[in-house]
């Protein structure tokens, strides 16, 4: 079945407005809007370090149309606020049974990208494909929850979806938080809060789970446990997973793809399995080593203070975006 796609194209006037196009015309319009000629900051030395296979998740010139086999697909997303391109031409696909991890330095636009994908914010340009068959379970950053509201876990889970007590108990059991049911949200530990938020997302019976920094404020063992849970949800329920990691270098080992962004896509690829790595296992213990992986990546460009990409200079020994001293 063909789903209508919403295409967001720049208009000729000074205002940016949204134009809804029939699906047939989308591709042609896209080639205009995503062509790299209108990239505001030129970067002559910027090369592109990975091979351009299908669904590589990189935001460069080979992007064509949205992937209609994906649960969610974006092409050439731009989001500009206060004259800063927070999101500059990003492509992103998430398929069923696929775990995609987003990493990047603070202020790289990870949360903004998630908000664009969820429809909380509207992109200024670019195309977003999110068929009505895609049901999203969203797990927000936990510290955003308003603490002035008294709220038991049971009431929180019932709110909105009208879930029955049995469904709530089952969802909490699935995420391993059954005993929190009568507790106040504000009294839960970081790991418990995350599990309750995941249970709430599961009550919507989603086929795509979007988690924004689920492991933030959770220790390494707790992080590994959470990633185990997310991995088993993917395996048992066949969910697609889009996950924002708070850590630049440690990601979920089961990630099918890791995408490092800093406004644009810096690089992407598979996480290196480090479970076998003796040093890593010694540091974090065998349990953690099974669920976490070190994502080693070397960038072929760096960023000046305005965030514009520039070639790596000889003097910089850092491979982390935004920390170079140009």
């Amino acid at each position: 079945m063909r789903q209508p796609a919403q295409s967001l194209t720049p208009s000729s006037s000074a205002f940016r407005r949204y134009v809804i196009l029939p699906a047939e015309t989308v591709t042609a319009t896209l080639e205009q809007s995503v062509s790299h000629a209108d990239r505001p900051v030129g970067s002559p030395g910027q090369s592109h370090a990975h091979d351009h296979g299908a669904a590589c998740g990189c935001g460069q010139a080979h992007s064509t149309a949205v992937d209609r086999t994906a649960l969610m697909s974006a092409r050439g997303l731009w989001f500009t606020r206060h004259r800063r391109d927070l999101i500059a031409g990003i492509d992103l696909d998430v398929h069923a049974r696929e775990i995609v991890t987003l990493i990047g330095p603070n202020g790289a636009g990870k949360t903004t990208l998630v908000k664009l994908m969820l429809g909380i914010e509207k992109p200024d340009r670019g195309e977003l494909y999110r068929p009505t068959s895609t049901l999203i379970g969203y797990v927000p950053q936990r510290f955003d929850i308003e603490r002035a509201i008294p709220m038991t876990v049971a009431r929180f889970l019932a709110l909105g979806h009208g879930a029955s007590d049995d469904e709530i108990a089952a969802a909490l059991a699935e995420v391993g938080a059954a005993r929190t049911v009568d507790q106040q949200l504000s009294q839960l530990s970081g790991g418990e809060t995350q599990r309750v938020l995941i249970a709430r997302a599961l009550l919507r019976r989603p086929n795509l789970l979007v988690l924004d920094e689920p492991a933030r404020g959770v220790d390494y063992v707790g992080e590994a446990d959470l990633y185990d849970l997310i991995g088993s949800l993917r395996d048992n329920r066949g969910l697609g997973v889009l996950l924002v990691s708070h850590d630049l270098h440690v990601v979920m080992a089961k990630s099918d793809r890791v995408i490092c962004i800093n406004g644009h896509v810096c690089c992407s690829g598979k996480p290196e399995a480090v479970a076998k790595h003796a040093e890593y296992a010694r540091l974090f213990g065998p349990r953690a080593a099974g669920a976490l992986a070190v994502y080693t990546h070397h960038h072929d460009h760096q960023h000046d203070l305005s965030g514009a990409p520039s070639p790596v200079t000889q003097t910089s020994g850092l491979d982390v975006d935004g920390r170079s001293s140009t």
Partner: protein, 267 residues
């Protein structure tokens, strides 16, 4: 001491109790969304409504409701822009509205006009006509609040989560602002422009430590508000002091007791 029950005492009591129930859930949401300053601005804009009502010779309650709703619409419109925090706009509107209201009323009625009734309320001057506003308006606001309750709680709890789950936060926020404006305009008669936000917020503060869910907090706030109205009116009649401040002071005493009890429990 006044003989019980004089009709004006009965009217004050019924109007106070009805508004206590209507205002309680709204007060909880104001507390959760940290909107006390928005409420103050809406309340002080009501004084301009009084002036317009006097100038055009229409029902004062109606003109106050219109002024408060207009102020709410202006705030909703300002809320769309991201350049200035809403706080700075409120800081300007809040005092400008109060100053303009006082000047406009004085110009219209001369310096002899008694502003005390508008600023601190005159609960014992509630007329039969006011009662209709309180009962009908109150019932409408309460019905709308109940209908919107779930989405209001979800937006207050986590706006992005609610948006991702298909609630339009601007819609529920806008509707709430208008309900708040109407409630403030009607409650002004009882506790006055300067105290009306306390009438909304203080019962919610008192209820917070005692409640485990948002619904229970709203119900407990309503009970606290009703105790505040009865106790405040009794105090006012016994000691012969103004009614509005007596009600608010009683509510504040209940809130202090509740917070102190919660503080000693958590130690």
């Amino acid at each position: 001491m006044i003989e019980w029950p004089e009709p004006f005492v009965l009217r004050a009591l019924v109007a106070g109790l009805v508004l206590a129930v209507v205002a309680a859930p709204l007060g909880c949401i104001v507390l959760w969304r940290r909107m006390a300053y928005v409420g103050e601005t809406l309340a002080q804009s009501s004084l301009l409504g009084v002036a317009f009502g006097m100038a055009l010779n229409v029902d004062l309650t109606l003109s106050v409701i219109i002024a408060a709703v207009l102020a709410a619409l202006i705030l909703i419109w300002f809320g769309q822009q991201k350049l200035l925090a809403l706080d700075s706009v409120l800081g300007l509107m809040h005092h400008a509205a109060l100053a303009m209201g006082v000047i406009a009323i004085t110009l219209l009625k001369g310096p002899a006009i008694d502003l005390m009734g508008f600023l601190f309320g005159d609960v014992f001057a509630v007329t039969r006509n006011d009662m209709i506003w309180v009962v009908v308006g109150g019932a409408l606001v309460l019905a709308a609040t109940l209908a919107l309750w779930r989405s209001l709680v979800r937006v207050s709890l986590h706006e992005d989560l609610a948006t991702a789950e298909g609630i339009d936060p601007r819609l529920s926020r806008g509707a709430f602002d208008i309900l708040l404006a109407v409630t403030i305009a009607v409650s002004m008669k009882i506790v006055g422009i300067l105290l009306v936000m306390a009438f909304l917020i203080v019962p919610a503060v008192a209820a917070r430590p005692l409640a485990s869910t948002p619904e229970r907090m709203a119900i407990i706030a309503a009970i606290v508000a009703m105790i505040g109205v009865v106790g405040g009116l009794f105090f006012s009649l016994t000691v012969d002091v103004p009614g509005g401040p007596s009600i608010v002071l009683t509510m504040c005493a209940l809130a202090v007791i509740s917070l102190m009890a919660a503080g000693s429990r958590s130690r």
